[in-house]
Structure formats: structure tokens, C-alpha cells
Subunit: 390 residues, 2 copies
């Protein structure tokens, strides 16, 4: 029979899609240049030219009869080696190709990590504000998402609550830094405190509590931001990555899971990923993108526009009187709703053709998410309108 | 805690991978030209040149700043439209883009179809001989795979058993024609009988029993073979497709699910696929391949070598005295084990550097699978050795 679980999900329509539809309507009415759409989290800068140069080389020099074949389980050795080398060079880690498993980007990476270290019925804990899709990713693994309430003043991890909530049914803790939706980058002190929490609780409960680190924004970190490589601070870490943001390739579905080689059962976990693929409908990542990565890493898009936009918005909004925690990375920030009345604020914003997303869906009510992955010119012209919202 | 379900799966190592490892060892020992490896089911012909021509056009004429972006839910309209048009032109069906959902190839297609029309705990029924991975695909959907025993003389559907076994807990029936591992193509009479079974049982149990048609070999059908388009004979059909075989792109992970527009809840099912993606770790199919498909369909690789190889092997083996059901398509056939002693036969085969796969894993003991997706020259030189196996 039709599976009602998925029918019910349809009834919880994503507000971001509704806002996008409204934005499209307004673009038709007032012209696209007059709609200030800060609702969608897709990269606004093009992929680096090296991406197409690498494709060109593959077409010209590669052997068509072998280059599109099945890869070994987990992906191409040369791609995984290049990723390991890049991580080790930048972060002093000690990954090898054997610690890495290529996936169809972030959702697939998280899907594999969660299924490996949590059994259906267990809890996975994360920290608000958090990505609204986590609920569904965790549900797909048969687990329950437990969300530690936000520290709404700092948007940092609320450790008081985390210590209380991390009970013996929590199999893994999921973090996302740089953060969607807040732009927060957890600093070294925060990561050390988190590692201490996980170490103490692992000892108390007599089991390894894994840290699943969702890092698609890792390469988008702003000047003077302390941005530790999380896996270096806690051995039982599984790094989930996507090239969607760093190379502006969100439609191409390419990423990886990397298990810290010092993690408990590190080798077993990587072997398990291949089994998880079989049962979840994932059978490897597109090989053409694995070949491109092997050629161009550690190349990224020119990501500087996100910092330019962040500074423009942060400086203007705080000058106008908005309360905003300064973002350290990603392409999001999360100001407080002036006056606190969401409906009134959203109406006023839409009246000004400013499209933003309420914080409620990110478990951070009283705030709104600004996705500033838009042309800088658009940000500049939006500033006067933000003044109207106060 | 580590999820033991996947650890246990590791203990059931795939015999095909073990045979592949043995084949590699023998290649090193006696030279690759002297190992006759019929164990692996990967395309042996290159993709058509149109694939690289289309990539070249995309690089030269496409706008790099938009071509790699997220696609709409379910994929690019132009790709889905082209697929619908191609199906309708060839088979007289009436698909539109709205009936189609792009996926990361066959495993993903089946994963979506099964989760949509079966609830965990229900049964999914298929017919032996069948693909060995179905067990894991069905397990991933939380269901139980029920396998109708093979009619070992014809390798056709065993309808007597099917009528008995299709009880009210069966949510869907899964078929694969042209078939892996047998090469059998179910003819029009067979598909009509299957449709009758499903129609009668749907009426008896007061529910729609869906037919999930796994068709990655649809384009590999040999001369004078009656190969009906299955969806035309039963409205409640979900077509699962992959371009891995028809375009020789198995490493690129591109395929689709198509719901017969006359199916019960046809539109709802397609909407549900997007929800299934969210929970299963699948977030769309690589957009570059969607763009290539839109340019080149209905182009395929030159698939004629598979028929050439099938004829060479079928004629020689039957002449030598093997009992073989003549394959109608795919790149497999399934002879009986001469004498019936699997271990003795496998030893003799390996002594002759002939690598084949026992039928047991395909729920067809007493047979072995020959995957003749190898160069014709290799097939020709293998024939004398098959004679030694009798």
C-alpha cells in the first residue's frame, strides 16, 4: 500500500520553497532586480575555471572506454588519496585513502554516517540553531533527533543543556560548523569543551559516542575567525563533506565521508558504509566528478564574495539597530526579529520585497535567516530597505 | 553503537567479488589474455561518442555559472521531457515529464519505488532466477523479499507458484526483463498472464498491487525476441531505469523512475519520491548527466556485440552438450551445470581459467551465470575450454 509516512511529509511543505515561489511571482511583477531574495542557500559564485579545464582534459586525454566504468567500492583511489593529502596538509591530520568513502554529497554522507554509528531507536543529538532537514535525515536512519535549545544570545553551543540532555540513548552528536543557519563557527575552546563532554559521557556510559561533523561550509571562513578542524580534537569523529559549496557544484552530487583513523572501529566503519549503500539505494558517487577532483584539488571557487556580503550586511544592520551575532563563515547570518513579532516582521519584509526565512524552522524562534549568497550589488541595494523594517 | 546489521552483511561477502579477486590473481600469473572472466556484469562496449560530444558542447556553450546548480525536485524538465518523448515514441505510452523522477541509477530507482508502494513489514515478491542484490534493496525498505522458485526448464515465471505465493501481505511484485542472471526476456503472453495475476489479486485483496519493473537491460534485446514494454500491460507499473547499460555509463550513476500515468495515485507517487530522497540520503541525480541525456537521447552505445557473443556461446555450448535456455537479451545466460555437481564444475572451470558464477546466489541452483560482456575475441578463444568442462 502507499506508504503514508511519505504522504504525511508532503503536508509539511518546506516554507523555503513557498517563499521561493512568492519571490518568483514578485520577480515577474516588479522585475528580478527589485526582489531581494535572501531565502535560498545555493552558491552564487561560479565554479572555478579549473573544473571545466579538467573536464576538457578528460574528454581529450581520457580513454572513453574505461573512464565511465564502475569505481571500486568507496570510490577511486586517486581521488580519495588526494582528499586525504589535502586534509593532512592543511590540518595536520593523518587520513589515508582507506579512511575515505565517496558519496553523492552531504545528505548521502550524513545518511551513511548516521546508519553506521546509530541503531534504529537510538537518539542523535544536535544543537540549535540547526539545518531544518536534519529531522528527516535522522528519521531516515530510524533514529530520533534531539535538539539542544539555542543559546540565543551567542548562537554558540548551549553546554548547560547539552550536559543534561546527552543521556545513554544518544548514539552520536551531530554538529555543523560553519553553521547553517547562523553563520556561527565554533571556536577551538568550544570544540574542546564539546570533546570533553563526549569523552566524559562516553566513559560514563561505557561506549563510544561518535561525533558526526557536517562540514560543507568548511572552506567558507572569514578573516580572523578561529576555525579548528574538528576531527583533530575528538578521535571518534566522522567528517561529512560535500563539494557543493566549495566548488559551487550543488547539482552534481559529490562529497565524501571520512572516518578519523584513530576512531574506534575506524576500518570497520568504512567497510560498513558500502553495506549501507546497498540498502539505502546509494551505489557510489559519479565517477566523472571523482576524476575532476583528483585533478583539481585543493582548488575552490572564489569564495571571497560571501565575506564581502557578510560584512556589508552585518555593518549596516547593526548600525540600523538590528541585533546580530557576527557570522564567522558559511553564507548565512541570523539577526533577531526587531520587536519579536514574526508575522508583523515577515509582512513588512515582504512588503519591501525582502525575502528571508523565519528562524522557527531552524529551532531558533525570534530570529530570521539571511542567506547572502547573492550578488554584492543586490546586497548593497537592499540595505536601505532593511532600514524600513525597524 | 556500531550498527550490527551492516557488520553482519559484511560476513556475507559477495562471491562475485571473491571470483574477481581470483581472476585478478590469475591475470597476473598467466597473462590477462588467458583468463576468461565471465563473472562481472559491467558493459564491455564504450559509451557512444555522442556522450563526449555533448560534454564538449556543454563546456563550450553552457554558462558555467548556472549549469551545475541544483535542479528542481525530480530533475531537469528538459531531460524528463526527452525521456517521456522517447518512451512514448517507441512504445506508444503517454508519459509526461511530470511522471518521471531522475535518480542516481538502478539501485536508487528501486529504492524509491519500493519505499513508495510498500510499508515496512510488507512483502515484495520476485521471480527466480533473480539479481542477488534484491535481497538487500528490499531489506533497506524494511520489507521481506519473497522469491517465487524458478521454472528451471524454461527460466520463465513459475505462475503456478506465483498464484499460490501472492498473498495479501504482498505490496508489490518486482520483475527484471531482460533478466539478470538468465538473459530471459518475458514475452507478451507472459506479461499478460502476470498482469492478469496482479489484477485478480488486487481485486481479491481490495488494494492496488504495484508492479515494479526493473529495466536496465531494456535496450539490449536480441533479434526476433518478443520484448513487450511492460508498463503498457498493467497500469499500476513503476518503471525503474538506469543508463548504466544502454549508454555504458555505470560509474556515472544516472537513471530514473517513471510512474505509469494511469497508475493509482500516479501524481502522488512522484511527489512521494522527493520525500523518500530526503530520508534515504539521495538528493537528486548529477545534473551534468541530465544535461547530456537531454542532448543525446535516444542514443545508445553500439550494443550489438552482446548478441554476437550470445550467439557464439549459445551455439557452441549447445553443440557441446550444455543445456541452455537461449537468452533473448541482457548480457547473461544461465546454462545448467553438467552433471549437477557445483563444486566439481567450479573447480574444473577455474582449472581452465574460466570464471563463472554459481546460480545459487541467484536462487537458481544447478545453473551457472555467464556474463558475456567481454570482447568477442575472448569469447571465441574460450569456446574450446568450455568443451573441457563436460
Amino acid at each position: 500500500m502507499i506508504n503514508s509516512e511519505y504522504v504525511e511529509m508532503l503536508e509539511h511543505k518546506d516554507i523555503i520553497f513557498e517563499l521561493a515561489a512568492y519571490a518568483n511571482q514578485r520577480r515577474a511583477e516588479v522585475g528580478p532586480e527589485n526582489v531581494f531574495d535572501f531565502s535560498l542557500g545555493g552558491p552564487s559564485v561560479p565554479p572555478p575555471i579549473e573544473v571545466h579545464q579538467a573536464l576538457q582534459e578528460l574528454i581529450e586525454e581520457g580513454d572513453i572506454s574505461v573512464m565511465h566504468r564502475y569505481t571500486p567500492e568507496g570510490g577511486l583511489f586517486e581521488t580519495k588519496s588526494m582528499i586525504a593529502k589535502d586534509l593532512n596538509t592543511r590540518f595536520g591530520s593523518s587520513f589515508t585513502a582507506d579512511n575515505i568513502f565517496m558519496t553523492c554529497a552531504a545528505n548521502a554522507s550524513l545518511s551513511h554516517a548516521m546508519r553506521a554509528v546509530a541503531v534504529p531507536g537510538e537518539k542523535i543529538m544536535t544543537f540549535a540553531p540547526c539545518f531544518s532537514e536534519y529531522e528527516y535525515y535522522v528519521k531516515g536512519a530510524g533514529c530520533e533527533l534531539v535538539i539542544v535549545p539555542a543559546d540565543t544570545e551567542t548562537l554558540n553551543i548551549n553546554f548547560d543543556e547539552a550536559w543534561k540532555m546527552l543521556d545513554e540513548n544518544v548514539a552520536a552528536v551531530l554538529i555543523n560548523s560553519p553553521n547553517n543557519p547562523s553563520g556561527k563557527v565554533y571556536d577551538t575552546e568550544t570544540i574542546k569543551k564539546l570533546a570533553e563532554l563526549l569523552t566524559m559521557k562516553s566513559a560514563e556510559y561505557g561506549k563510544a559516542i561518535y561525533l558526526i561533523s557536517d562540514e560543507p561550509y568548511r572552506e567558507i571562513v572569514f578573516s580572523d575567525t578561529d576555525s579548528p578542524f574538528i576531527s583533530n580534537y575528538y578521535d571518534n569523529t566522522i567528517v561529512c563533506y560535500s563539494f557543493s559549496k566549495s566548488l559551487s557544484l550543488p547539482g552534481e552530487r559529490i562529497g565524501y565521508v571520512a572516518v578519523n583513523p584513530k576512531a574506534d572501529n575506524a576500518d570497520l566503519l568504512v567497510s560498513m558504509f558500502a553495506q549501507i549503500s546497498r540498502t539505502s539505494g546509494h551505489n557510489g558517487a559519479p565517477v566523472i566528478w571523482q576524476r575532476v577532483l583528483a585533478k583539481i584539488l585543493p582548488c575552490t571557487s572564489d569564495l571571497s564574495v560571501y565575506e564581502t556580503n557578510a560584512n556589508l550586511l552585518y555593518n549596516a544592520l547593526t548600525e540600523y539597530g538590528f541585533e546580530v551575532v557576527k557570522p564567522g563563515g558559511s553564507f548565512y547570518m541570523m539577526p533577531k526579529i526587531p520587536g519579536g513579532d514574526l508575522d508583523a516582521f515577515m509582512k513588512k519584509a515582504l512588503d519591501n520585497d525582502i525575502i528571508v526565512v523565519p528562524g522557527d524552522g531552524f529551532m531558533c524562534p525570534g530570529h530570521f535567516r539571511l542567506a547572502y549568497c547573492v550578488p554584492t550589488e543586490r546586497v548593497e541595494r537592499s540595505l536601505e530597505r532593511f532600514k524600513n523594517l525597524l
